[in-house]
Symmetry: C2
Subunit: 246 residues, 2 copies
């Protein structure tokens, strides 16, 4: 793991790194010394590690919660080379949407293909952070990611017992139901009640499939991209409850 740049602003240290082909960024409180919760941030489809929603969450977790947070580019996203797979996915997605056809299966298959590559990448990043002795990786670990971030995060959380709490959402059950049944950690799950991309029943079915004894569905009125801003603060409180109880 190579740390290639570091800046500090408003009490938050931001460090860019690469691990093999995977570029990432780590946020910590600037004065951080001891172990603290680490939140893995999984961006949505077409986004990247420093999309505004990732940066704002990373900085907020560090500044307001005293956590560390790490974000990486998913395969074919951000600074990583875009492949034919991404181009074909996007072209077909546009076709389906223009035709008013359901996109759930198309998105789910693409997410699953990315997840097969991205899950071991996330695990390697977590390994490397822990092996480096970085204090940011010595505490409990959470995962936050919706849409593609859930498509990758669900199999990651199901596979890796180091992750103790997760925020998911905005994705349906296609290809993910069996994986969800292997998730047992506390989950906060976001669903948009009027989502035109993810049918309501499909999102409800995915929430239902989670085995987690502690799971909360937050369904808000509005379309796919209209998750209310107050859900960001709710996710912070969720992670504090489960990863840093007073």
């Amino acid at each position: 793991m190579d740390f290639i740049a570091e800046t500090t602003a408003d009490g938050v240290s931001e460090r860019h790194f690469t691990l093999g082909d995977v570029p990432g960024v780590l946020w910590t409180p600037a004065d951080a010394t001891g172990p603290r919760p680490l939140i893995l941030l999984g961006h949505g489809g077409g986004q990247h590690k420093k999309a505004p929603g990732m940066v704002s969450r990373g900085r907020r977790y560090a500044a307001a919660c005293g956590f560390a947070a790490v974000s990486i580019d998913a395969p074919g996203h951000g600074d990583r080379p875009r492949t034919e797979r991404e181009d074909q996915f996007s072209a077909r997605l546009r076709e389906l949407m223009a035709a008013g056809e359901p996109v759930g299966s198309h998105v789910a298959l693409f997410n699953a293909a990315l997840a097969a590559q991205a899950v071991p990448e996330w695990q390697s990043v977590l390994d490397a952070l822990q092996e480096s002795g970085h204090a940011a990786a010595a505490g409990p670990v959470g995962y936050w990611g919706t849409a593609l971030g859930t498509g990758i995060g669900l199999p990651l959380v199901a596979a890796d017992p180091r992750i103790g709490a997760a925020v998911f959402g905005c994705v349906g059950h296609e290809t993910l139901t069996e994986t969800a049944a292997r998730v047992t950690v506390p989950v906060e799950f976001l669903l948009q009640w009027d989502d035109t991309l993810v049918p309501r029943e499909s999102g409800l079915a995915l929430f239902d499939a989670l085995t987690s004894p502690q799971k909360s569905l937050h369904a808000n009125a509005g379309d796919h991209m209209a998750v209310p801003r107050f859900e960001a603060a709710s996710a912070e409180r969720f992670f504090i409850r489960h990863l840093a109880p007073a």
Copy 2:
């Protein structure tokens, strides 16, 4: 409206009152002078105005949020005379539960009968508080109540434009769907995902029926009575967002 007793503890003033046949209690910050949000607290079936969940919410709204809160006994509950209606309801409810039969319609019809009487009572209490010139009734008004508290609160909020935000939940759509369609204010709606009294689909249908452009469903794993404690704090933030924005 006759105020019959007042005590102050931990910075919260608690005043008992009667309005005609209806006994109630008003909580305010002990040092309250100006207008502030007022939360109407509707208790659940078999409970009463000073059930632990009502007292803790009333005191918490006053102490932590600077709000006023008022709770009254529903017809046949608390200090009000229990009638044959309540006895018949309870006996039949026990029969249905012992036989493993669905209770939704039975509960809904009972709640609707109580609501026909309780809605004008709540409106009279609000009228009287406002006419008395009490500062606690000069600000925006919210409503909190689940189960029977929603059975009464939904028609109240649909009927009374003074109420600007409401927390409902733990009840199904029977008899309430048309009323819910007349609710347009922001709503936070609680649903227990494994509720053995209220079928999941019935609760989801009631949430769906609300016309409110801003509505949030909080569905938590667990049975009817297992609403997580953190939902109380979520309701406080909901009321602060809508009734007392910074």
